[in-house]
Symmetry: C2
Subunit: 444 residues, 2 copies
């Protein structure tokens, strides 16, 4: 079920085969027909119809780069007119305005349909940690959607919107796209303003994008990116147009990869790697320093950042928070200042080691996830399954990398396969270029 891309929508608006109002109406019908599938927390159908009509009535609006393009926003990011819930109704508030990065999309003519489901407080990679309907992957069979940006991935995978705004701290912007057969792009931290985002780990968070088309990612990145003085981690984009064919691609020894007993996934990844090796010049970097950084994240003191944000709320509303989420966030209290500095020293060593690896390779290609889970499997063992899901994503922001999860077919038994392309911060153009080549092995 692939929906139209931005370019296809704009072309159809131009040739009259569609109009924003008609398209919005079609999408809203689809959403309504599906009923509550756990994708959306809030949809404002009336506002979307009104906005489409206003755009159609505004002279010159049809020249806007996202004229009449519907999109979705993860419900941890403020959009005026929608409550921000973080999938915790007791936490919900009416925002005073729209996050500036999202405002840039509205200013470009896009139409926000609503806010999407997430693992509560963006704490989770599996999609089951929500008091709303628990979403399922578009691949069916009770497969989890992945999280925390579950609804944003689904809205794209279901063809309802060409792109959705999500977030990524430990993999939240890559795991759900990987489990739903779409692209999950985590730009370099600081390119997209995080003002108006309720933080998970403020030092690691970034906005991310879900789409079905690399050109849509490029277009939306270009519109959203911009230095914001109110975001202390904000930094300017760096353009880098390399010939993808000349890139040096790191593919770690398969013996270093973990598929957690999922031989079908291992086989599918092996096939996908082989295609990568045909398209690019490759080398074999060690995976250990990346995984060591990932372990620092899920076993280390960064969870205390969640306590900084939600500690006061937890103290007053403990019963309103899902037990697994409450337990994880409260765990931040066990870490001392010396624990943080010790972990940051170790991280500095790993960052230096990884920087040296990236002197000899341009991008690293890994599985996005090592295996998949069903909803009952995750509910039976919510922490261990979640850790497995983040095996290849936990280290991304800690090591200040950019990354994109790219669909790479299915396993023999029909589950989604995804490759993740990683590069040092500010090499966003590079990972998108590799993603495009992987999706279209014979570019013009």
């Amino acid at each position: 079920v692939r929906g139209p891309s931005v370019a296809e929508l704009l072309a159809s608006y131009r040739d009259g085969s569609r109009s924003p109002s008609a398209h919005v109406a079609t999408v809203l019908e689809t959403v309504e027909r599906r009923g509550d599938d756990g994708t959306w927390i809030s949809v404002d159908a009336a506002a979307a119809r009104r906005r489409a009509a206003e755009l159609e009535a505004t002279p010159g609006a049809s020249d806007l780069p996202l004229y009449g393009v519907p999109f979705a926003v993860k419900d941890s990011i403020d959009v005026a007119g929608f409550a921000t819930t973080l999938a915790c109704p007791a936490y919900a508030y009416e925002p005073g305005g729209t996050a500036p990065a999202v405002q840039r999309l509205l200013d470009a003519g896009a139409i926000c349909l609503g806010k999407t489901n997430l693992d509560q407080f963006a704490t989770g990679l599996n999609g089951t940690r929500t008091p709303y309907t628990v979403p399922r992957s578009v691949f069916g069979d009770d497969l989890i959607s992945g999280g925390s940006s579950s609804g944003s991935a689904l809205a794209v995978a279901l063809g309802e919107v060409p792109f959705a705004v999500a977030t990524d701290t430990a993999g939240s912007g890559r795991v759900p796209p990987a489990l739903n057969g779409v692209l999950g792009f985590k730009p370099s931290r600081g390119l997209l303003s995080t003002v108006g985002l309720v933080p998970a780990c403020r030092s690691l968070d970034c906005l991310s994008l879900v789409a079905a088309d690399v050109d849509d990612l490029r277009l939306v990145l270009g519109l959203m990116a911009g230095v914001d003085e109110r975001d202390p981690w904000s930094r300017p984009r760096r353009r880098r147009a390399d010939d993808p064919a000349r890139l040096r691609v790191g593919l770690p020894d398969e013996a270093e990869l973990s598929f957690f007993g999922d031989t079908a996934m291992a086989d599918a990844h092996h096939a996908a790697r082989t295609a990568v090796a045909r398209a690019f010049s490759t080398l074999t970097p060690p995976l250990a320093p990346f995984l060591a950084a990932g372990e620092l994240l899920y076993a280390g003191p960064w969870v205390a950042e969640r306590l900084v944000e939600f500690g006061d709320f937890l103290d007053e509303h403990r019963a309103d928070v899902l037990p697994v989420v409450e337990q994880i966030i409260s765990g931040g209290a066990r870490f001392s200042a010396t624990d943080v500095f010790r972990a940051q020293y170790r991280l500095a060593e790993l960052k230096a080691e990884v920087a040296r690896l990236f002197e000899t390779m341009d991008v690293l290609v890994l599985p996005s996830v090592g295996t998949t889970f069903t909803v009952p499997e995750v509910l039976a063992d919510p922490v261990a399954t979640n850790t497995v899901l983040g095996h290849y994503t936990h280290f991304g922001n800690l090591l200040d990398l950019c990354a994109v999860a790219v669909p790479a077919g299915t396993t023999e038994d029909g589950r989604p396969v995804s490759l993740m392309v990683l590069a040092p911060a500010l090499d966003d153009d590079l990972v998108l270029g590799v993603a495009a080549r992987l999706l279209d092995p014979l570019p013009a």
Copy 2:
């Protein structure tokens, strides 16, 4: 009492008016004649004489850039053949080797005379926190030497060595030179390898240099700097040769400066500023974000970094540590992980604000210290006086700046005055260029 500069020494070796052996003998006599003045913790006269003789006997050695030049090393940095004490005899150990940045000086023909006194564990800016003899400033009248690099500043100010290796975490490499009428240069963090340095705050520490001559600083920086894979904060130097006359120099409003009731110092600083304003194009940046970062350091969780390094030692040797130092370091235990992340968020905001200020100015010029103290004054109130001494230095490493303290005459009542020139990281050439112009207002 100014000793010969490196250039003067080398010239005298070349023209035969001095030899390394003869010069070393002269210096050792001076040191011996002064007796235990608190400058040195250890001097190995025999080794220095032997080394001078060896250099003289080595063909080609006289072409080395520091041939036969004696120098001193702060006793928190390993030099083979000398115990590393950190001014705590119970902590002392025999190092397995020489810190690589110091080894580069030895490889360049320099002669390490010995290890210099410091505030214990490099914890202090005043120079009185030592179980060895408490040093005094060369300006006399019971004036403190400043710390923690007290002995390194004195060895230069007494003319015993043309340069000394020191360290700077919160001002330890700038306050003692400021109180002894010499130059204190804190390069950008990462230019000089910190391998072989016992850390104070590992995320902030850097090696620093004391000298009486800007050209000596430039020469020694050039020899010592170099990327070291064993130092995770290591980074390469950046050359920037701007015309000092065209630099935009920030001089904050004098109403924002604090002299703690020291009107003679305020007057002297006013006169020094006036000279700066005649030599450069100036502007008036706010000082508040810099001072706010400084407050984060002395009131915030970074003290826990000292506990990371010395906590185990303190647990077993509490009675062997000076009470004021023990109290400060133990204070790190009161900070939680959330305290660290909160402080780092605030620091990120201040760093962003300061980066914007440096878009409109090249360097900032401040007093190095706002006032001076006598040894009895510091002993009577060791913490408050120390905080006053760091008023203009605490923020330097937190904000990732480079800095040099430059002698600027004396107060009416004969105490040392010093200007501090600060710039963003990697603009080391810039601050040294300004220092040179301030010392020689009519350059060729």
